[in-house]
Amino acid sequence: MREISLSQAVNEALAEEMRRDPTVFILGEDVAEAGTPFKVLSGLVEEFGTGRVIDTPISEPGFVGIAVGAAMTGARPVVDLMFGDFLYLVMDQLCNQAAKQHYMSGGKLTVPMVLRTNLGATRRSAAQHSQSLQALVAHIPGLKVALPSSAYEAKGLMKTAIRDNNPVVIFEDKLMYQDKAPVPEEEYLIPFGEAKVKREGADITLIATSSMVQVAGKAAEILAAEGISAEVIDPRTIVPLDETTLLESVKKTSRAIVIDEGHQSYGVTAEIASRLNEKAFYHLDAPVLRMGAMDVPVPFSPALEDLTVPTPEGVAANARRLCAGELIHAA
């Protein structure tokens, strides 16, 4: 199978959906000729014109609000939010307006929009361009949240997101844009709420999202060399969450570590760990561990920034302890 980058995969998904459905359009800062700072959208304006690939002023609440209104009245906007950190700017439009319209109207109004943004530290971009804020939006009923972990997922999830009748926030890992993966030539969609078992294992389940799927995969390699068989699962969407696949795996392995690049406290890892605790408690042979980013603003200095995110070695170390039956936090 051919291999393309995550960036190309997103570009293909958008182009295919825009060809298929004339109501799909792109809105955001420097999305047209510039093709975004990450060049993800390069070439789209040439095919679809500035009428459907619309450059906006630097007005995040404004253009997200506009996308909500367009979606409520029959279009399918894909909003480009240049950095995930800018979510804070658009919280009212996203969480008070987009997320609630369907419910507040008793099901009469729908908001089929996609908010494309990104996550991920270690790009030396400091505290306001490095955050992974998926927990923030996953907390809000009415928003779906997708976290692609490779080019394959990025394309399939984007196409599904565009066709979904709800507001979907899709986070791409900005360090992964040039990472290549096998992506079929033929069309495919990845349904929401279907986790992917990335690697099968028997001793411990590593549940990882987005950027952390690679970290978990590398940890599994380290562990394999020591005779520990780790299963790696990518939920792919955290809202909706495929509990069934996660629970089945954890019931099989009896141990789990949940890894996500958002801040560890009150985060995605906590939510998933809690569900495993509630629904697989009597199958657990060790406490479910969370591994997220440190609870600090992301520092600039590479010497510090690299300390803030989970690493394969750290995941492997924790997995080793769980499998050894060590007492985690002596009672």
Binding site: P22, T23, F25, G51, R52, I54, T56, P57, S59, P61, G62, F63, V64, G65, I66, A67, V68, G69, A70, A71, M72, T73, G74, A75, P77, D92, Q93, N96, Q97, Q101, H102, Y103, M104, S105, G106, G107, K108, L109, T110, P112, P141, G142, K144, N165, N166
Partner: protein
């Protein structure tokens, strides 16, 4: 200068008799709004209505004057003080009262309430409880019309208080850049919650829009014919791609900020309220004009009023007796299929 524009003679004032039906419908809609609010006020005061509500009484000419210039295809976005827009855009009393009382037959199956009534069938994209929160939605609706080649127009209702929200400037900028078919209708009722507008808004309201190159108008919001005349003209121009527009409608709310805002003399006097109610009431003024022009007799007007009161009483009784939504609906409509 913009005030001068508002006094331009409009189509509807050119031949009163010929448009009798339109005039009577406008009068009827204004009385329906006033009657709806009187009933809602009573429901609230008698503790039959839960929550929080904001009365539109006094501002009827604004909603009716504008909405009578729109079709069901045209969209509006409304505000927390939104019952008037909802009625003016064609909503029925029964579903409205049901919604106010949280009943299953309400427009939003009881999930929205007073501050979130939406009536999509008539182009009402919904009231919004965030002040200024719907400005993006209205602008987006207009962008959609442009994008998909539709000729509908969107009117964004908001109050003078919402001019303090940054979102307004972001979306007006984009609407102007992209020449979107949207009309920003600023209902300036003189008070931003409990504070006189002069204390929260520096400079001119209309100049805010003019800074973006948006044509702006000021009109007497108590004169339904003036409002409607301007609205007809601007809607037509929007359809031709000449939008966006901004209109400041000078009006007055008879009640407090919300039902229960009783002792309000610290921010406005009873004399002022009395003057607006007795001398500038949009319904009294329009009724006198209708009778004076021979469009309707006093008896016909009284009969219309009585009929509307009967309708409202019937709708209230219906809503009071209607069923609440079943518990099974609580987690329904979080996500669309």
């Amino acid at each position: 200068m913009s005030a001068a524009k508002s006094k331009t003679k409009s189509k509807v004032t050119s031949g009163p008799k010929a448009n009798a039906e339109d005039y009577l419908r406008m009068y009827r809609q204004m009385v329906r709004i006033r009657t709806f609010e009187d009933n809602a006020n009573q429901l609230y005061l008698s503790a039959k209505m839960p929550g929080l509500t904001h009365m539109y009484s006094g501002e009827e000419a604004v909603a009716v004057g504008i909405c009578e210039a729109l079709t069901d295809e045209d969209r509006i976005t409304s505000t927390h003080r939104g019952h008037g827009h909802c009625v003016a855009k064609g909503a029925a009393f029964r579903e409205m009262f049901c919604e106010l009382l949280g009943k299953a037959e309400g427009y939003c199956r009881g999930k929205g309430g007073s501050m979130h009534i939406a009536d999509q069938a008539h182009g009402n994209l919904g009231a919004n409880a965030i002040v200024g929160g719907s400005m993006g939605i209205a602008t987006g609706s207009a962008l959609r019309a442009r994008l998909l080649g539709h000729d509908d127009v969107t009117v964004c209702f908001f109050g003078d208080g919402a001019t303090a929200q940054g979102l307004m400037y972001e979306v007006m900028n984009m609407a102007a850049l992209w020449k979107l078919p949207v009309i920003y209708a600023c209902e300036n009722n003189g008070y931003s919650e409990y504070t006189p507008t002069a204390e929260i808004a520096a400079g001119s309201i209309t100049a805010r829009a003019e800074a973006f190159g948006i044509e702006a108008f000021t009109v007497d919001g108590q004169d339904v014919l003036a409002v409607n005349g301007l609205a007809q003209k601007l809607v037509a121009r929007c359809r031709k791609g000449e939008g966006p527009f901004f209109v400041e409608l000078r009006t007055y709310r008879y009640h407090g900020h919300h039902v229960g805002d009783i002792n309000r003399e610290y921010y406005r006097s009873k004399d002022e309220e009395k003057d607006w109610k007795e001398n500038r009431d949009p319904i009294i003024r329009f009724r006198a004009w209708l009778v004076g022009e021979g469009i309707a007799s006093e008896q016909e007007i009284e009969a219309m009023n009585a009929e509307i009161e009967g309708d409202a009483a019937e709708a209230v009784a219906y809503a009071e007796a209607a069923a609440y939504p079943p518990a099974s609906e609580v987690d329904m409509h979080v996500f669309a299929d």
